[in-house]
């Protein structure tokens, strides 16, 4: 086929919303290179998803079905996709950079003696040149251009929010059903039911104002300074992951890909660098203010107002000014 193959993610018949961002990436890469784009969906009892995909502008939709694929396992997916990639022979295989893709795609690429180009934030491609895939280094402080020097296939995963799902082009595609050869004995891991920890008592999603604290706070004893600012603003207190990992604030106050997703009127980020896993949880906020001593901190990329400075000087002054303005 020598085109682009996008592997979409679903669970129990529901799409992972990042799937269509990856599809948009695939369509755009194919258009830039003048090659075809196809898509695949893997699972059991997913005919309806195949039909939905067939309404997109694609060369082909591969409906990859097997009862052993009802529940995700790395072994099941690697075995299946190895067969699919060999059969379809694409030049580029594109995935959304989800937790599931992190779990199997590096092993899949290894089967082809290739290396997954993971968490890509931009693709520069045109004509017959080798495309450039941009990844972030050092938690978003730097960008890096990567090129594949080996022959096809190339394996690429796309960071959340990089491409817009609503730019997927509609059209019509043929569906090809594929039944991979897998044996139950090839699947070594036994996944259990999904569960959540006990219900949280704070619902950050409804808070109109959030003051969020990151590792810049230094130590647990400094947290009350942030609490005072939050109290002055009538805001909920939230945090980045390391604060919760350290037990300085409870897990339920964590914002990000493994915590809550919030969209308040104001998100005030104090001493937070702005790693992508944090940004995905708060970039829908109407206004963002960031206080950080590093002018190159990625958090400023999503901030409306920024202060480059020492939070230990800025925060007490701000708390005082807010209280004065309110009284």
């Amino acid at each position: 086929m020598s085109g682009v193959l996008v592997v979409l993610e679903q669970r129990a018949g529901n799409w992972n919303r990042m799937s269509f961002e990856a599809l948009a990436a695939g369509q755009q890469l194919a258009a830039a290179l003048g090659i075809s784009c196809s898509a695949a969906v893997v699972g059991s009892g997913i005919a309806a998803l195949g039909t939905e995909l067939a309404s997109k502008r694609l060369d082909k939709v591969f409906l990859v079905e097997h009862e052993l694929l009802g529940e995700y396992t790395s072994d099941g997916y690697v075995t299946t996709l190895e067969q699919l990639v060999k059969q379809a022979a694409p030049n580029y295989v594109i995935f959304p950079h989800t937790y599931q893709v992190r779990d199997f795609a590096p092993a899949l690429a290894t089967r082809f003696r290739r290396v997954l180009i993971s968490d890509v934030v931009a693709i520069h491609a045109e004509g017959d040149g080798t495309p450039v895939f941009v990844r972030q280094l050092l938690q978003g402080k730097l960008n890096a251009d990567y090129k594949q020097t080996a022959e096809a296939p190339a394996f690429i995963s796309i960071q959340a929010g990089t491409f817009r799902a609503d730019t997927v082009v509609e059209g019509a595609a043929q569906i090809e059903t594929i039944n991979p050869a897998i044996e139950a004995s090839q699947i070594r891991n036994k996944p259990g039911e999904r569960f959540r920890e006990s219900a949280s008592t704070v619902d950050l999603t409804v808070a109109p104002v959030i003051v969020s604290v990151g590792r810049g706070i230094g130590e647990a004893d400094n947290i009350p300074m942030i609490e005072e600012l939050a109290a002055a603003l009538g805001a909920e207190l939230a945090a980045s992951r390391p604060i919760c990992d350290n037990g300085w604030l409870p897990m339920e106050r964590q914002v990000g890909s493994s915590g809550q997703t919030v969209a308040p009127k104001l998100y005030l980020a104090v001493g937070i660098s702005g790693a992508i896993q944090h940004l995905v949880g708060m970039k829908g906020s109407k206004a963002v203010i960031a206080i950080n001593k590093d002018e190159n901190a990625p958090i400023f990329e999503v901030a409306d107002f920024g202060v480059v400075g020492d939070l230990f000087e800025i925060v007490p002054a701000l708390t005082k000014a807010v209280l004065a303005a309110k009284s």
Binding site: R102, R113, R241
Partner: protein, 254 residues
């Protein structure tokens, strides 16, 4: 149980980063380094697992001479011995190349369990562990918060997106990539630091890479600013006053 923990040395978080003159990596001259954070949690998980179930914890790191300081810290925290794969050319190797280096050292030890961090702070690939498992032909699970021994192998708690989790049962030998926050990190005690001096570090020379890298890092650069952020400057009091203005009249939360 014999446990190997792969730990990576990365630039310290607050380090001032400069792009190297060749534009292909960062300037390493004045950098200070530390253990990759998830790897510290992987080491902690291994030490606690050993305390519960017995066995041996070996730390493994590929990199230049400077990484021995990170291995020494791990020994001081309680690892039993260390393996240093001495390699000055990691930047020329891709993930597969680095995983192959680690695989050689791991195979020689035949461990029951291998732990890595889920992702490195500098390259952020999130892959080396999974690739290593594939090279070794053993099962793996990623983004793991807890590890328990069962009669048939392991039961691990895997983090999923948006606050969901899942238990996975798996046979041994196995490889797990560890997420931060599953346990509390310990500090090295004075006693530990003293003991570390007598612990063994086995240094092995990295073999030349057998194959050309599949990927090439062509250029590193500062990301272009896409958003127009209004930067507020002045004394802390002046900045606070400006922020209050914005909060009142633009954001309208006061």
């Amino acid at each position: 149980m014999k446990i190997i923990v792969a730990i990576k040395q990365v630039p310290e978080r607050d380090a001032q980063i400069q792009i190297a003159a060749n534009g292909k990596w960062i300037d390493e001259d004045d950098l200070t380094y530390a253990i990759n954070e998830p790897d510290a949690y992987a080491l902690e998980e291994a030490l606690q697992f050993k305390e519960k179930n017995g066995g041996e914890v070996i730390v493994l790191c590929a990199g230049p001479e400077r990484v021995t300081s990170t291995l020494r810290d791990a020994l001081a925290k309680g690892a039993d011995r260390a393996i240093h794969i001495e390699a000055d050319d990691l930047a020329q190797r891709d993930t597969l190349g680095v995983a192959e280096l680690l695989a050689v050292a791991v195979k020689a030890e035949s461990p029951d369990l291998i732990l890595t961090g889920l992702q490195s702070d500098d390259l952020g690939l999130g892959q080396t562990g999974v690739v290593l498992a594939e090279l070794l032909g053993i099962p793996h699970a990623t983004i793991i918060m807890q590890v328990e021994k069962t009669d048939t192998g392991l039961r691990v708690k895997r983090e999923l997106e948006d606050g969901w989790f899942q238990h996975v049962d798996m046979p041994l030998p196995a490889l797990l990539t560890i997420q931060s926050g599953g346990n509390k990190l310990r500090y090295a005690t004075l006693m530990g630091i003293k003991k570390a001096k007598s612990k063994e570090t086995n240094t092995i020379a990295a073999a030349d890479s057998s194959e050309a890298a599949a990927l090439k890092l062509a250029r590193v650069y500062l990301p272009e600013k896409q958003k127009k952020t209004v930067m507020l400057t002045g004394t802390p009091e002046q900045i606070a006053a400006q922020l209050v203005e914005k909060l009142k009249f633009e954001v309208r939360v006061i």
